[in-house]
């Protein structure tokens, strides 16, 4: 099992979610986050007040996947989240030792 964390543009979220549903992914954790990588912020002045946007809004997706689905999901996210501009985000993958469904204590991939 792998844990996938993807940081994507908020504007791509709906498309990514729909595309993931099409490949059979229903469950995910979604968080509204702020941050920046290479895409630095900018400053807007409105009515004499300066608004510095140094941490840009992003959406963070988290899901744990059975090994056989990892490539499909990564491809799907790459395809739907990409605009080609700086700020499209990143995908992180890490190995997961165990998954346990709290309700019935099921373990392993069947708990996903």
């Amino acid at each position: 099992m792998m844990k996938l964390e993807a940081i994507i543009q908020p504007s791509r979220f709906e498309s990514v979610k729909d595309a993931l549903r099409e490949v059979g992914i229903e469950g995910m954790t979604v968080t509204e986050v702020r941050g920046h990588g290479r895409q630095k912020g900018h400053t807007e002045v409105y009515r004499g007040r300066e608004y510095t946007v140094d941490l840009l809004p992003k959406i963070k997706l988290e899901m744990v996947l059975p090994d056989k689905l990892v490539n499909t999901v990564v491809d799907t996210i790459l395809k739907t989240a990409k605009t080609g501009k700086i700020g499209d985000g990143k995908i992180f993958l890490s190995r997961v030792e165990e998954a346990i469904r709290i309700r019935n204590e099921e373990r392993g991939e069947s708990a996903l």
Partner: protein, 866 residues
């Protein structure tokens, strides 16, 4: 005396059978009242038998131990999966020690028989003492009922021990119950209108009934608190029966104490016509309207009790202080007043006067203006008057002007909320009926559609003092919003389409607007603004969530849709309120920030693209036709000449009728070189002026206004390709000169014409004003900021000035610009409290300002503005 104890193996199936029978009877249509009574009898009988049997087996006398039912069980309202609240009452600590093993055995047996026992133990002495951190226990004790054991011990507690201590503890119990109830209501957003309500805990649920019952006991059965009629009492009884039926159904269906009336259970209840006595089969949405009606009854009853103050005998000292306070604080209402504020609420003084509906409406207007709520008694009196058609009423129609006054006030929700409760909102705006108590199912909304709509308005009025950082940024937009009436009207109607059989609710809401606007008599311009807001009420939210708001093309595309800064401000406020009212968590700080970013970027885009985005009249065939039709007899080419080259904002900011009016003035320029039009507005006047462009024109007009003591709030200065200037100034008449002296209007216009025509000098006028006015120190200090932008326009330099607003400011700035040979191509003047925010597009001899000129101008302006 009961017989010998039956073994559990015998008793348990008997109880289970009886439970199943009660359930079957409920399913077959038995009332909730009957079901609860049977469940209670089953529990009582089991306790009796089990307890007596155990006493017998252990050969223990009952003396010194009593079993009491508390809370809902004490009131004989035991729901299928509710806990049995039982108190073990001991004579003293010695008897407590003796009976402890027996009680454990009793509780275990009851659990084994399928009863969830929730027990507490107290000695007689402990019951006397008030446990300040356990008000819930003392409240539950109010419902005490003898179950088993030592009857004399119970009687002593019930008749001798508790009455005096409860009397003494009344203020404590009242304040604790008040606090607990307020906290509970607040947890549910203080509204009954939840899409999936909890029928026990949510406002309008059975806990409301229970709390009202306790409050009635604590306050004493005062005649003024009883239902105003037996019909009221019947309504409350029906509501308890309705909610209890739902709770029984939920318990039976879920197999546990789960009281959430989910969408699925709403369907099932509607299919079964649960608790419906009129035999009409309803769909889930209609059945839920019955639910809300009953919930409203229980919630109203509770709120009436919550409003009460407990009366306690006062000491002499307290009485003297109280008399002194009331002598100094109470101001008698003016004679002839129909209502007055008492204890921070509006009270009705003259009930018969309410037959004149105009007086009722003026009460709502005052509530909206002052932010003062109506007392429950005031609402009750109005409800009585409006719900009795036999009472002759007059002036029943609310005019658009009156409604507008309510909608434009600082606290429109203070009026609209009671208007909705009393059914008056639906009289004035029948379009609202389509969403009355309407449940529309989705994952995000928590409230019914009408509740959501009213909450949007309440979120806006809360911006007067923003409750958190999410509102802090948009608060200034609300405080300075010129047409709140249109914004609030749009919010009332924006979701009415959800109650119509249409595919797209926005189209339905626009149909509502068309009928409401025609009935109420909105002007075409007003209707067009509201139409825009309703039509686009989802656009800003959709742009924030589905577009890259940092992409300039997103910003320019969105700005093109909204087209003016004023509309952008209203749409931003509407979007803020609309998301906020979905549920308490919907407007996350993250979303609020995104919304603000889009607003700022679009506002800047709109003010910076003014100069480059010019009208080509020949492209505006429809507008040309409208203006031609409105004016009559004008050649199309003449209208084209007038419009050619105005910034596109001019088109967006004015209706065809207004443009036709300007064109009519333009046509008169041949006869007189200056055409003006002065109009009274809600907060002052507007002056529209057409003339040929000339040096110092803008500064001179600003100077005349300053000399007359007028404070310019907003202004636009545009010029067309032929060099005709069209300036509009919105100003407040600080000394009410024009308002109170109609003859001064003519003199003002004459002065303006003379000064602009060069027949009279401006300086003496300004000097006399300066000597007459004393500068007051500003309440909020605003630091001057001067920014130039050479990229915003292809042929002008943009100058943005933020400075402390003061009389004559614009004249001083305009004069400085003129002295340095800067021509104003376009100007946008605005104020925000004591802050002036002015944008000028400047050229000097037809070109952008070079760096040197910008530096000099910056220095000069700093010197002028301080």
């Amino acid at each position: 005396m009961p017989g010998p104890a039956k073994p559990i193996g015998v008793l348990a199936p008997e109880i289970e059978k009886e439970r199943a029978q009660i359930r079957a009877q409920f399913a077959a249509g038995a009332t909730a009242r009957e079901t609860l009574r049977q469940l209670c009898e089953l529990a009582d009988g089991t306790i009796h038998e089990t307890f007596a049997g155990m006493m017998k087996v252990h050969e223990t006398p009952e003396d010194g131990l009593s079993l009491l039912a508390l809370g809902g069980y004490g009131r004989q309202m035991l729901f299928p999966y509710s806990d049995l609240d039982i108190l073990f009452l001991f004579e003293n600590h010695k008897s407590e020690e003796e009976f402890r093993p027996l009680i454990s055995e009793f509780s275990r047996t009851m659990w084994d028989l399928g009863f969830r026992v929730s027990s507490a133990g107290r000695t007689m002495d402990e019951c006397k003492r008030i446990e300040e951190d356990n008000a819930e226990f003392h409240l539950a004790l109010l419902d005490r009922r003898f179950l088993a054991g030592d009857q004399q011990l119970f009687d002593r507690l019930d008749k001798r021990i508790l009455p005096p201590s409860e009397k003494q503890a009344r203020p404590f119990l009242f304040s604790q119950l008040h606090r607990l109830t307020k906290e509970r209501l607040a947890r549910y957003g203080n509204t009954i209108f939840h899409l999936e309500p909890n029928v026990k805990e949510a406002p309008g649920g059975l806990r409301d009934y229970q709390a009202a019952f306790w409050l009635r006991q604590i306050l004493g059965d005062r005649p003024d608190l009883r239902g105003s009629s037996s019909a009221d009492e019947q309504l409350a009884a029906d509501a308890v029966e309705f909610q209890s039926s739902i709770r029984c159904l939920l318990h039976y269906s879920n197999g546990r104490n789960d009281n959430t009336l989910t969408y699925e259970m709403q369907e099932e209840a509607a299919q079964r016509s649960l608790a419906v006595r009129d035999g009409v089969q309803r769909d889930a949405a209609e059945w839920m309207r019955l639910y809300f009606r009953h919930a409203r009854t229980l919630n109203r009853q509770l709120l009436r009790y919550l409003d009460q103050k407990i009366t306690m005998p006062l000491s002499l000292r307290e009485r003297l202080f109280s008399a002194a306070r009331s002598a100094t604080r109470t101001e008698p209402p003016p004679s002839g007043a129909h209502f007055a504020i008492r204890n921070g609420q509006f009270e009705i003084l003259d009930q018969p006067a309410l037959a004149d509906r105009a007086i009722v409406y003026s009460l709502f207007t005052e509530a909206a203006r002052t932010g003062t709520p109506l007392s429950r008694d005031a609402e009750r009196i109005i409800a009585y008057v409006v719900s009795h058609p036999e009472l002759p009423g007059f002036n029943q129609t609310m005019s658009w002007d009156t409604l507008k006054e309510i909608l434009a006030a600082d606290y429109p929700g203070m009026a609209l909320r009671p208007m909705q409760r009393l059914g008056i909102l639906m009289e004035v705006l029948p379009e609202f009926r389509s969403i009355d108590s309407l449940v529309v199912r989705d994952f995000y909304h928590r409230y019914t559609v009408d509740e959501h709509s009213l909450r949007t308005i309440e979120h806006l009025q809360a911006l007067a003092d923003p409750p958190d950082t999410r509102g802090a940024q948009v608060a200034a937009l609300w405080k300075t919003q010129e047409r709140r009436d249109l914004l609030v009207f749009a919010l009332l109607l924006h979701d009415t389409g959800k109650g119509m059989p249409v595919e797209n609710h926005v189209q339905g809401s626009l149909t509502s607007l068309a009928s409401a606007a025609s009935r109420l008599g909105l002007s075409p311009e007003e209707e067009a603004e509201v139409h825009f807001l309703i039509e686009h009420h989802l656009d800003m939210s959709a742009t924030v969530q589905r577009r890259d708001i940092f992409d300039p093309s997103t910003v320019s595309g969105f700005s093109a849709t909204v087209s003016t800064l004023e509309r952008l401000q209203r749409l931003c406020l509407l979007t803020y309120a609309d998301i906020h009212a979905v549920n308490p968590e919907a407007l996350t700080p993250w979303k609020a920030e995104m919304l603000w970013q889009l607003f700022v970027a679009s506002a800047n885009h709109l003010s910076r693209s003014l100069d480059s985005d010019r009208l080509h009249a020949s492209d505006e065939a429809s507008l040309l036709a409208q203006v031609q039709a409105a004016v009559g007899g004008a050649a199309r080419s003449e209208i084209e000449r007038f419009l050619e080259g105005f910034p596109r904002r001019y088109l967006a900011a004015h209706s065809a009728a207004e443009i036709a009016g300007h064109f009519s003035l333009y046509r008169k320029l041949g006869g007189a070189p200056l055409q003006t039009e002065l109009k009274a507005e809600r907060h002052g006047f507007s002056l529209t002026l057409l003339t040929a462009d000339r040096p110092r024109l803008f500064a001179t007009i600003a100077g005349v206004l300053a000399a007359w003591g007028m404070n310019i709030i907003k202004a636009d200065a545009f010029a067309n390709a032929a060099g005709v200037v069209l300036d509009t100034f919105h100003f407040s008449d600080l000394h009410r000169t024009l308002e109170l002296n109609p003859s001064e209007v003519e003199r003002f216009q004459k002065t303006l014409a003379e000064v602009l025509g060069g027949q009279a000098p401006l300086e003496p006028l300004l000097q006399s004003r300066e000597s007459a006015s004393r500068a007051r120190p500003p309440k909020v200090a605003v630091a001057t900021q001067i920014n130039f932008d050479d990229d915003a326009s292809a042929h002008s330099t943009l100058l943005e000035v933020v400075a402390q607003d003061r009389a004559g400011l614009l004249y001083d700035m305009g004069s400085s610009l003129a002295r340095l040979d800067c021509n104003i191509e376009v100007a946008l003047i605005d104020t925000e409290g004591q802050k002036a925010i002015d944008v000028f597009y400047l050229t000097s001899q037809g070109n952008k300002l070079d760096i040197r000129k910008q530096e000099v101008l910056s220095e000069v302006l700093k010197g002028t503005l301080g």
